[in-house]
């Protein structure tokens, strides 16, 4: 009898963790990433990607991004071709990823609306070259939606993106990147 009760208890507990695990994840597939090269000579090196995928586990603070390089749109089509073909080699390296953690998420009450400064620690992988980094971001919790925005710099050299001397004055060594994701709770399966 005792063992039956404890079995039931554990079964419920297991189901409980299952439920919790499902409801902890927040997700989007149409996040926004924008970058601009603020170089000496302004050549309009700027692109936007509106189909960035991002997931956040609010239990662990774990956060991941998946950015398809081909989905970056430039104003200049030829620039987009060169970006894919010569700089990012998007056939070889189709995606940039980020896997990290919101370090101070445990200290934030996620059940209440509000704005918080957050600290991200993780690995940004572009062209299969991982780079550990720490970034500041802002988290806004609004009626169960987690909106994360940030702006940071990515050094071309960190990911072995080679800039020919001929265009060195048109492409900055550090590219200014900003993103905005609106994460919504995943519907439990």
């Amino acid at each position: 009898m005792k063992s039956l009760l404890s079995t039931i208890f554990l079964a419920i507990f297991w189901l409980g963790t299952h439920q919790i695990a499902q409801s902890q994840k927040y997700l989007t597939r149409n996040g926004y990433v924008h970058f601009k090269s603020n170089a000496e000579v302004d050549d309009d090196v700027e692109a936007v990607n509106r189909s960035v995928a991002c997931a956040l586990d609010i239990q662990t603070g774990e956060i991941v991004f998946n950015v398809l390089i081909k989905n970056f749109t430039f104003r200049k089509a030829l620039m987009q071709e060169h970006f894919n073909e010569n700089y990012m080699e998007s056939d070889k390296y189709p995606r940039a990823t980020y896997k990290g953690r919101i370090v101070n998420l445990p200290s934030i009450d996620v059940s209440k609306n509000g704005k918080h400064k957050i600290k991200l620690e993780g690995t940004l992988t572009i062209r299969d070259i991982p780079k550990n980094r720490t970034d500041e971001a802002e988290l806004e919790i609004k009626d169960g939606t987690f909106i994360i925005t940030s702006a940071f710099g990515v050094a071309c050299a960190d990911h072995n993106i080679k800039i020919p001397k001929l265009v060195a004055d048109k492409i900055a060594e550090v590219i200014d990147v900003d993103f905005r994701v609106e994460l919504k709770e995943t519907s439990s399966k």
């Binding site: 963790t17 299952h18 050549d43 700027e46 104003r75 200049k76 030829l78 071709e81 265009v167 995943t186």
Partner: protein
Amino acid sequence: MRKYLVLFLLICTQWGYCQEDLFSLIEEPEMKVEEPVSATFKGTKIINNQSNEIPAKGVLQFVILHRFGSLKNDFLYNFFGLDNAQVRFSLDYSPLSWLNIGVGRASLFKMTDIWYKAPVIKQIKNGWPVGITLYGSANINGLRWPTDGLERLFTDRLIYVHQILLSHKANENFSILVAPTLVHYNLRQTASQPNSLAVLTLGGRYKLSKRVSLNAEYSPMINRNTGWDGSQSTPFTNALSIGFDIETGGHVFQLHITNSRGLSDPVFLTQTSGSWMDGEIYFGFNISRVFTVKPPKI
């Protein structure tokens, strides 16, 4: 006790599942997307012939083409042939993602031309292997008629070129193009000259580095153009050109040597006068510059 162990393991796997599976939530679906192959060639021309490429929608392209004097003809006296340069300017625009229209003017025969180019079927990555592009040009011979008292019509000036460009990007570096071509002269220069000539253009490129490629093209005539004087059987040779593409930002520089002086379609396809064997080779270049007229919203 075993039950506890099983449940414990279940819980562990459950947690394990949440831990490592976050990224799998945002992986792209396994769906096979039909992605067209891009950048089969760097430029819209291989050398003289058209490649399958067109500028993107809303982009205006200006191309300057030069062919200098023969390497044989007082090469240094004519400053490496620069003094005898043939010139062509062309301006084209892509109103649609699959249509390019343009106008050009070449100095040889004072030829003005208008053309369309439509990549109707694109090569698909890991799928359909051939890009099919239609190309057609109408060329207007602008030379003054001889004062021989004969009546000639405007339509007598017209020469049409039709091409089906079949392109294939074999890998990142190597692309080939085969183009069955028909050239039609409304007016024959001599009775022995055919009105319609078939040409088969073969072209290719090999990328030497990210920004430099080696290009070559050969356009053998299937039936011979016998030329201005019927007594000469084949005064015209097949055009063979070899060159390099150098790509920088918004330009493509194409430097090449060719036995064709003419820069408009019917001339290099069917009226190539130079012969590689006799050293009648011309150095030349094409420079393109693109202007984004209607940028897409980003």
